[in-house]
C-alpha cells in the first residue's frame, strides 16, 4: 500500500503545498504547530478539499481535481484517530466501536470486534460510556473504532498530545502493535520528536506549509541542515540495532548496530530483539584520543563528515561511525580548541544513562 500526496490548499494567507509518498510502516508528519500538518491530514481524510492536486491510496484515486474525483470521507476507507478522541457521548464503548463497522461493506471487512477488543485491552470497558473513561482509555477506544471500519490506512493526528506522559507510555505500545502485528500503514502527525523517532519508518518534515524533507527516519534525523527544524534541544539521530547481550548483574543491555556496540539500560528485551535507539546530539561528546579513566561506557571511533552552521556558541558535527551517521552538538569553543575539521578521526562518547525509555523502543521484528 502506498499513499501518494500532491496537493495545494490556500487558507487565508496560509498556503499549503505538499508532495510526498508514504509506504508501509509509520509515516510521521513532523513539524511545529501551525505548519499545516492537521490540514494535510484532513485533506487525506476528505474532511477538507484541496484546491488542486491528487491523493492516491493503494492505487485508488481519492481526489483528483482534473478528473473531478472527490471520494466522500466515509468511502475512502481511511481510519482517522483524532487528538481528542471524539467518541460519541451518547453511545456506549461497544456502540462506539461498532459504529463504523456498520457502514463498512461486508466484503471489505477484515476485522471483527473480538480481536480488536483483545488487541487494545477494552473488554472491561465495553458497557461504559465515554464520560466514564480516562484519557488513555478514550484514545484506545478511538483507535478501536477506527480499526473496526477495516481501513486500508490509519491517520493519527497527534493522538497523544492531549495525554500526560504516563498515558502516552500506555498508548504507544498499542500503536506499535498496529504497525507490527496488523501491518497497517499509518500516517502519524506529531510535534514530539521522541514519538516520531520511536514509531516512524518514514519522516516527512513539514515547515511553513511545505514539505521541507522526506525520507527514511535515520537519514533525515542525521542531516545537519534539518537540525533546526527538528528543534535543537531534541535533535538527534535514530539508529536501529539488535540486542546482542543482556547483563543482568549491571542492569545493562548491549545493542549492536552499524557503528559498533552500545551499552544501554536493560530493556527487558531478549537477545536478538530489534530496537530503535535515539541518540540526542547534545548527549554526544567528542575526543581526539581514546579516553581513559572516564565513567562513560560507550566510546565509538568515527570520522568527521561535515560541520553544521554555528548557532551562537554551539555547532553540530556530523560523524560517520561505521555505517551510521551520527550528529554531535558541542560548543564552538571546544571545536576550536580541539581543532576539529572534516575528515578528522576522533572518538564519540555517549553516556549510557542518556538512553531512557523514551529514547529506546522495540521495532518491527522481521
Amino acid at each position: 500500500m502506498t499513499l501518494e500526496i500532491d496537493v495545494e490548499k490556500a487558507l487565508g494567507d496560509f498556503r499549503l503545498r505538499a508532495r510526498f509518498s508514504a509506504g508501509a510502516g509509520v509515516t510521521a508528519l513532523f513539524g511545529h504547530s501551525g505548519a499545516g500538518k492537521s490540514t494535510l491530514v484532513n485533506l487525506i481524510a476528505g474532511l477538507e478539499r484541496p484546491d488542486r492536486g491528487r491523493i492516491v491510496a493503494g492505487g485508488a484515486v481519492l481526489f483528483d481535481d482534473r478528473r473531478g474525483i472527490d471520494v466522500a470521507p466515509g468511502r475512502r476507507r481511511i481510519g482517522y484517530i483524532f487528538q481528542e478522541g471524539r467518541l460519541f457521548p451518547h453511545l456506549t464503548v461497544r456502540q462506539n466501536l461498532l459504529y463504523g463497522r456498520w457502514f463498512t461493506r461486508p466484503a471489505d471487512r477484515y476485522v471483527t470486534l473480538a480481536p480488536v477488543v483483545d488487541l487494545l485491552g477494552l473488554s472491561s470497558l465495553l458497557d461504559r460510556r465515554p464520560a466514564a473513561l480516562s484519557g488513555g482509555e478514550k484514545q484506545r477506544v478511538a483507535i478501536g473504532r477506527a480499526l473496526l471500519t477495516s481501513p486500508r490506512l490509519l491517520l493519527m493526528d497527534e493522538p497523544l498530545a492531549a495525554l500526560d506522559q504516563a498515558r502516552r507510555d500506555e498508548i504507544l505500545p498499542y500503536v506499535e502493535r498496529l504497525r507490527d502485528e496488523l501491518r497497517l500503514p499509518i500516517v502519524y502527525v506529531s510535534h514530539a520528536i521522541e514519538e516520531v523517532t520511536r514509531l516512524a519508518t518514514t519522516l516527512v518534515l513539514i515547515a511553513g506549509g511545505t514539505v521541507a524533507a522526506a525520507g527514511p527516519v535515520d537519514e533525515i534525523t542525521s542531516r545537519l541542515d534539518l537540525q533546526n527544524l527538528i528543534g535543537r534541544y531534541e535533535a538527534g539521530t535514530v539508529i536501529d540495532g539488535t540486542v546482542t547481550a543482556v547483563d543482568a548483574a549491571w542492569h545493562l543491555a548491549e545493542v549492536g548496530f552499524g557503528g559498533g556496540r552500545l551499552l544501554v539500560p536493560n530493556l527487558a528485551l531478549p537477545v536478538g530483539a530489534t530496537v530503535r535507539v535515539r541518540i540526542r546530539a547534545r548527549d554526544i561528546a567528542l575526543a581526539l584520543r581514546p579516553p581513559e579513566d572516564v565513567s562513560i561506557l560507550n566510546v565509538l571511533p568515527g570520522r568527521v563528515v561535515a560541520l553544521g552552521n554555528a548557532d551562537g556558541g554551539l555547532i553540530e558535527v556530523q560523524v560517520q561511525a561505521g555505517t551510521v551517521l551520527l550528529v554531535a552538538r558541542i560548543t564552538r569553543k571546544a571545536l576550536d580548541g580541539l581543532g576539529i575539521v572534516p575528515g578528522q578521526a576522533l572518538y564519540l562518547m555517549i553516556k549510557s544513562i542518556t538512553f531512557d525509555r523514551h529514547s529506546l523502543g522495540q521495532t518491527m521484528s522481521g
Binding site: L47, A72, R75, R76, F82, R86, F103
Partner: protein, 235 residues
C-alpha cells in the same frame, strides 16, 4: 364543584388533542428550519429568520386573521386545498391545531436551533470518516445530541398551545365540540351570568395540565441529558 359536564370534558379533551397535534405537526418543519438556520448560509437568511419568529411578535389576532386569509375556505391556499383534496381547516378542530402549530413554531425552532448550535461539529466529522453520509450523521449523531433541545421546544410549544386564544378564535371561531378549546370555553363561561363555577373548574384543569407538563418534563429532560452526555446510570 368537580362535576364536569360533558361539554366541559369535550373542551378539555379537544384542547389536549389540538395541543398534541399542533406540536407534532409543527415538529418536522421546525427541525428542518432550525437545521437550515443553524447550519446553512444563504442570501436572505435574515428575512427567513424574521418570518420564522413572526408569530411570536405579531398580535395573535393578526396571525389568526392571516391564517383565515390564507387557509380559510375562500383563502389563497384554503380554496385550493378544499378543491383538490377536500381538506378544510376553517371552523374545524384541525384548524385549531394549525393555529396552535403556527403559534408554537417559533418556540420549537428557537429551542432546537440553540441545541444544534451547541453540538460539537467535530463529532459529526468523526462520524463522516467512519462511513456515515450526511443523512446518517444527522440521524445517528446530531439528532440524539439535540434531543434535549427538541424536548424543551415541545414542552414550550405544548404549553403555548394550551393557552392559545387569539389566533384560534379569529381563525376557527368558538364552536363547542369543534373549536372550543379550554381558554375559549373559560372565556365563554365568563361571558354568561352564573358561569363562574364552570370557569373555575376549567381553570383548575388548565393549571393542572400546565403544571403536569412542567413537572413531567423535569425528570424526562434530566434523563435525556444524562443519556446524551453519556454518564452511566447511577453516576
Amino acid at each position: 364543584m368537580f362535576d364536569y359536564t360533558p361539554d366541559e370534558v369535550t373542551a378539555i379533551l379537544l384542547s389536549l388533542r389540538v395541543a398534541l397535534w399542533g406540536m407534532a405537526g409543527s415538529l418536522p418543519l421546525a427541525l428542518l428550519t432550525a437545521w437550515v438556520l443553524s447550519r446553512c448560509r444563504f442570501p436572505g437568511k435574515t428575512l427567513v429568520d424574521g418570518v420564522v419568529y413572526l408569530p411570536l411578535i405579531l398580535p395573535p389576532v393578526v396571525t389568526g386573521y392571516l391564517l383565515l386569509l390564507l387557509l380559510g375556505r375562500h383563502g389563497l391556499i384554503g380554496a385550493w386545498l378544499d378543491h383538490r383534496f377536500g381538506i378544510v381547516f376553517a371552523f374545524r378542530w384541525t384548524g385549531a391545531a394549525v393555529a396552535s402549530a403556527v403559534m408554537g413554531f417559533p418556540l420549537l425552532v428557537q429551542a432546537i436551533r440553540l441545541s444544534l448550535d451547541a453540538v460539537d461539529r467535530r463529532l459529526e466529522d468523526a462520524a463522516r470518516t467512519l462511513g456515515a453520509n450526511g443523512a446518517w450523521v444527522f440521524v445517528t449523531v446530531t439528532l440524539p445530541l439535540v434531543l434535549p433541545g427538541i424536548l424543551t421546544g415541545c414542552i414550550l410549544a405544548y404549553a403555548k398551545s394550551l393557552g392559545e386564544f387569539g389566533a384560534t378564535i379569529t381563525f376557527v371561531s368558538n364552536i363547542p365540540g369543534q373549536t372550543q378549546t379550554l381558554p375559549l370555553a373559560i372565556y365563554t363561561f365568563t361571558q354568561v351570568p352564573g358561569g363562574e363555577t364552570g370557569a373555575m373548574r376549567l381553570t383548575l384543569v388548565s393549571v393542572a395540565l400546565a403544571l403536569g407538563a412542567m413537572v413531567a418534563s423535569g425528570p424526562l429532560s434530566r434523563l435525556i441529558s444524562r443519556r446524551v452526555q453519556g454518564r452511566d446510570a447511577g453516576n
